[in-house]
Amino acid sequence: MKLFTRYSRVNIIASVLALLAGSLAYYFSLHYFLIEQLDDTLKVEEAEILDHVRTKGTLPEPSSYRDQETSFALTDAPVTRAFHNIDRRSPRRHHNEIRTYRQLLFPVSVEGKVYAASVIKSEEETDDLLEMMMLITAGIILFLLILLFVAGRLLLRRIWRPFYDTLESIRRFNLSSHALFPARETNIDEFKSLDLAVGQMTQKIIRDYEMLKNFADDASHEMQTPLAIINSKLDLLIQDPALEEKHLRQLQAMYDAVSRLRQLNQSLLLLTKIENNQFTHADPVDLAPLLENKLTQLEDLIQNRQVRVHATLESCPLRVNAYLIDILLNNLLINAVRHNQHQGRLDIRLQDHVLRISNTGPVLSFGADVIFDRFTKGAHSDGTGLGLAIVRQICDNYGFALSYTYEDPLHVISIRFLP
């Protein structure tokens, strides 16, 4: 749930509870106070009556004023002085409604006789006053709540704006775009800290990423130079006519080793770059003509092993990095030919965005589950063992499903492309 909703919900409930409790306390204390006032008035009457009796020796006239009545009743039961709330029907004024009166009942003795004197006063005014005060209070409370709610809604939205802006910036953050984190204008401490922390974090991420990118390049560079030296010296060495066959055979082996090192180096570098998502550029390509081109490129290799190629290609448009796709097709096809048998078979089927490459060839000398791992090679393979690992990394990056199955006598690799 949104922060504001939760905040205002809690706020409202707490406010309501507090105000409710307050109102109740307010009501009761007010009521008590007002009754006290009323009682004081009754006590004044009582004092006057007692005074009258004492000075004049007779009871005063019972009176019946607007909301006040005094009356006397002869009684022989003992009378305890006390305040009571009584309900009385008052036909004259209130249309036979029942009203509540506050009564002070006290004993008065006149000429040896005991009377129960009652002074009553209507609580109507009190009630009206109380009602008015509670209404006003309720009104204020309601007004307060509404005001708080509305102000909260408006203000909160504005106050949280920097936060939402920051959130949006984080969402749009792109490593390879090199855009630094925009600083926000805000004087709220928490948001300033948030911005600072996020800014620092993204700077560090960008720095680390650049270092990582450069490391892969630099490492490769460092390795290529000595390789270049060896290669060039070998090139010069073989010009010497004084060399004999046994020397040249050694040199050939060295050439091959340097070749392998170079390939290994390049493949590892490529793999690292693909893992680091350094190939973000995408072009619209169609796999069918690319595959045809590839087959033409590799025709020497294919003819050399006398592999029979059968290809059914349907158009397969994609939006991917052209360089990566070229490598993917290259590695897959070279793999299928190199690990084929002499005069073997190679079927290529591209349909419904699924590419199936099936080739004959010796049974795998390793488990099928590691075929796409780095450095998984057959016993007599002179490849780097990285060809399929690169294919897998490319597929992972784009979310293409890559799989291998053995359907005797064919090794089948299939990729499901996403348009």
């Binding site: 560079h221 270049a228 170079r262 190199r338």
Partner: protein
């Protein structure tokens, strides 16, 4: 005609190798081992071809290229780079470099590229490479022996051209494979198809009346010599 080449490379052993190799042709080579000395040399002289290593210790080769372009001397630049980075390649070619070669390379490959660049720049009349009776027309991409055109496949033509550029040098099978196929599409087993192509090429040349120019060197490579 004597061609002047500038080798900008800070790895001394490597620049020595290149120097040795190129000197055997009619090339005079200057060597610049740093950004600064390269800058001095290109400001003082004109070169027919400049081999430019991008990763110099004291500067970026691309800056040199920009300087050359500013002085309209950007023709004939062959970029050598250990980075093999696509961005560098594109940047270099956009800045006017003629070609790009990734390290490590075979000297024969370097030789062929340098020759090609120099031919392009001094194209007045030198489209023809003469190997005794055999003429290679680099513009029409044809080969003729004693005036008669040969029917060569594209790969066979490229092979012959490669040999011609490195006349008199032993070229290893590896170098040939990398030149024709750019990738190592096979190990020792893969070199069989080189053998097939060369066999066909030799036969076609001999059938047309040319002497057998291509000699194999103890199964390690080949040499074209007159």
């Amino acid at each position: 005609m004597i061609m002047k080449i500038l080798i900008v490379e800070d790895e001394k052993v490597l620049s020595d190798s290149i120097h040795s190799y190129l000197q055997q042709e009619h090339f005079i080579c200057d060597v610049a081992g740093s950004f600064r000395s390269a800058l001095e040399k290109i400001e003082s002289y004109d070169y027919d071809c400049i081999l430019l290593d991008l990763n110099l210790q004291d500067g970026n080769g691309l800056e040199l290229l920009k300087e050359l372009k500013r002085n309209n001397k950007a023709d004939g630049v062959l970029i050598l780079s250990a980075r093999n980075s696509l961005e560098d390649k594109i940047a270099g070619l956009q800045l006017g470099a003629d070609d790009y070669l990734a390290k490590p390379f075979h000297l024969s490959e370097l030789g062929a590229r340098v020759s090609a660049i120099i031919r392009r720049r001094h194209s007045a009349g030198s489209n023809i490479i003469r190997l005794d009776d055999t003429l290679i027309d680099t513009q029409a991409h044809t080969v003729s022996v004693k005036g008669r055109l040969l029917d060569l496949t594209r790969k066979e033509y490229q092979l012959l051209l490669y040999f011609a550029y490195n006349k008199g040098r032993v070229i290893s099978k590896n170098a040939i494979a990398e030149h024709l196929w750019a990738e190592d599409a096979g190990g020792p087993a893969g070199y069989d198809f080189i053998y097939t192509h060369i066999k066909n090429l030799r036969r076609k040349l001999i059938d047309a009346g040319s002497p057998d120019l291509i000699h194999s060197v103890y199964g390690m490579g080949y040499k074209l010599s007159l």
